[in-house]
């Protein structure tokens, strides 16, 4: 029996059918990818708008020119926080874990639930997990207006430090030498009352300093240099959280906030410039960046100008 090969028309129809199926499937997949991308873009836009709105309460003379500097007047979440299993936690068996994909500077920030804490005692127990960078730092920010204006108390592997950051200028109010090992729980406590600031470590008063630069502001847990840190038994002004009833990977409801932490590896920068000869006129340019699934950096930039 003589076998007949495929005709050209049969091959064309066959190839067309297969191509059609592939295209339909590809388009659906792309649509889903773009829907997610648009969602992240919208979220970044809201963050950029939030920064621009915050700048409206500043006189232009209060803002000095900067290129891709820190955000002003807002304290966004940063890095990734979620409840983790930790049988060594002071209140077993869950703790609040901080992680980040970046590795230098202030890498994770999670503001406490309220936006205004004046006089208070803030206590946080935390453990820097083994394997973190040797230059790790972990602690708290308080009376914070933004990352350029606040107090902070933190531990490193070799010291306890209390600092004031005012307009990006760092003033060390206290620093000592001590050895802190990774994998051990520490209890850091800060009491702010008027201009008096006291810091205790593991129940022992370490120092009391006087500084009246900031009287009220946000408080936050903070981690530097990409360290992996677990926090537990956080308390402030009568409220406390041990995270034991929180779903793994999630945040306690009180702590939910919208910020850079909602974007994959989200970061934000502010550029302040004087675009015209009239120096009272300022241009503010906010750029919010994040990584998409492919690892590409995506950005949203919003610009506004303001005159006194």
């Amino acid at each position: 029996m003589k076998t007949r090969g495929l005709t050209l028309i049969e091959i064309v129809v066959g190839v067309s059918l297969v191509s059609m199926l592939i295209v339909v499937f590809g388009v659906s997949l792309l649509a889903a990818v773009y829907a997610q991308r648009i969602k992240l873009r919208n979220m970044a836009s809201v963050l950029a708008d939030q920064q621009l709105a915050a700048l409206q309460v500043y006189d232009t003379s209060q803002l000095t020119n900067q290129t891709n500097g820190g955000l002003v007047g807002v304290l966004f979440t940063q890095g990734s926080f979620g409840t983790v299993q930790d049988l060594t936690a002071p209140s077993p068996s869950r703790a609040l874990g901080a992680a980040t994909s970046t590795s230098s500077g202030l890498t994770s920030v999670l503001p406490l639930p309220k936006n205004a804490y004046g006089d208070f005692t803030l206590t946080a127990k935390f453990k820097v997990n083994n394997g973190s960078a040797a230059a790790w730092k972990a602690g708290v920010l308080f009376r914070a207006r933004d990352l350029r204006n606040h107090y902070r108390a933190y531990l490193t592997s070799s010291s306890l430090v209390l600092q004031k950051i005012s307009g990006d200028v760092v003033t060390t109010l206290y620093s000592d030498a001590r050895s802190i090992s990774q994998g051990t729980w520490q209890t850091l406590s800060v009491t702010a009352s008027g201009s008096s600031i006291s810091v205790s470590l593991n129940g022992t008063l370490v120092t009391t300093k006087t500084d009246a630069t900031f009287s009220v502001g946000q408080a936050a847990l903070a981690v530097w240099e990409g360290a992996s840190v677990n926090f537990d038994d956080v308390s402030i002004g009568g409220d406390s959280w041990n995270f034991d009833a929180v779903t793994l990977g999630a945040l306690h409801d009180d702590w939910l906030r919208f910020g850079l932490g909602d974007l994959p590896s989200g970061t934000g920068t502010l550029t302040v410039s004087t675009p015209y000869s009239d120096t009272s006129y300022k241009r503010y340019s906010v750029t919010i960046s994040w990584l998409d699934r492919s690892g590409s950096t995506r950005t949203v930039t919003h610009v506004t100008e303001k005159a006194n």
């Binding site: 339909v24 659906s28 969602k39 919208n42 939910l256």
Partner: protein, 186 residues
């Protein structure tokens, strides 16, 4: 010419090819349905979250301040993390402010359905605003108000966090958004 019938082998092969094509088409159809359901959920959660932020902004930006509590339409609303009660200067039909007349607006979630964002308005007699309870947003999963002062009634800036949620084909779509409103800055 005598027409030849279809052999059993030819029939079997064509049925197998047809089955394969239908299986692939079915899988694509199911996958497409899933993608569109997820896209739709993303769009809906975003729409509602933005709607809530915009509505809150509409009142917050023209507000003269936060008040501790207000009973509107028989329901008591108290300012806190889940509810915000604002005082707004009353306006006439031309949008001019009426002297010494105020409207009150409570924002939060519906007591009977916590997934619905509620705006309850208590308008003064001559105000162009009218007494009403409206539901401008749905799919609310979390709603939190925060204030820039320890006493909320002294706040000059309010931060609203909203997270909307919709389940679609076994996936939970969450859209978190937030905004800071500077009172009376409209």
């Amino acid at each position: 010419m005598r027409a030849r019938g279809v052999t059993t082998l030819e029939l079997a092969v064509s049925m197998a090819v047809a089955a394969m094509i239908f299986t692939i088409l079915g899988a694509i159809f199911i996958a497409q349905g899933r993608y569109f359901a997820i896209e739709d959920a993303i769009a809906q959660t975003q729409y509602n979250a933005f709607q809530i932020l915009d509505t809150a902004g509409l009142y917050a930006l023209s507000s003269s301040g936060v008040i501790a509590s207000r009973t509107i339409g028989g329901t008591a609303y108290t300012t806190g993390t889940s509810t915000l009660v604002l005082e707004l200067p009353s306006i006439n039909a031309a949008d001019d402010v009426l002297v010494n007349a105020y409207d009150y607006v409570a924002l939060g979630v519906s007591p009977s359905d916590p997934t619905r964002f509620t705006v309850a308005i208590d308008a003064s007699t001559n105000s162009a605003r009218t007494d009403a309870v409206r539901y401008p947003g749905a799919l609310v999963d979390k709603l939190i108000f925060r204030y820039n002062t320890t006493d909320p009634t002294a706040a000059t800036a309010i931060e609203l966090y909203v997270r909307t949620r919709k389940d679609a084909r076994g996936r939970t779509i969450l859209t978190p958004l937030g905004k800071i409103y500077y009172l009376g800055s409209s």
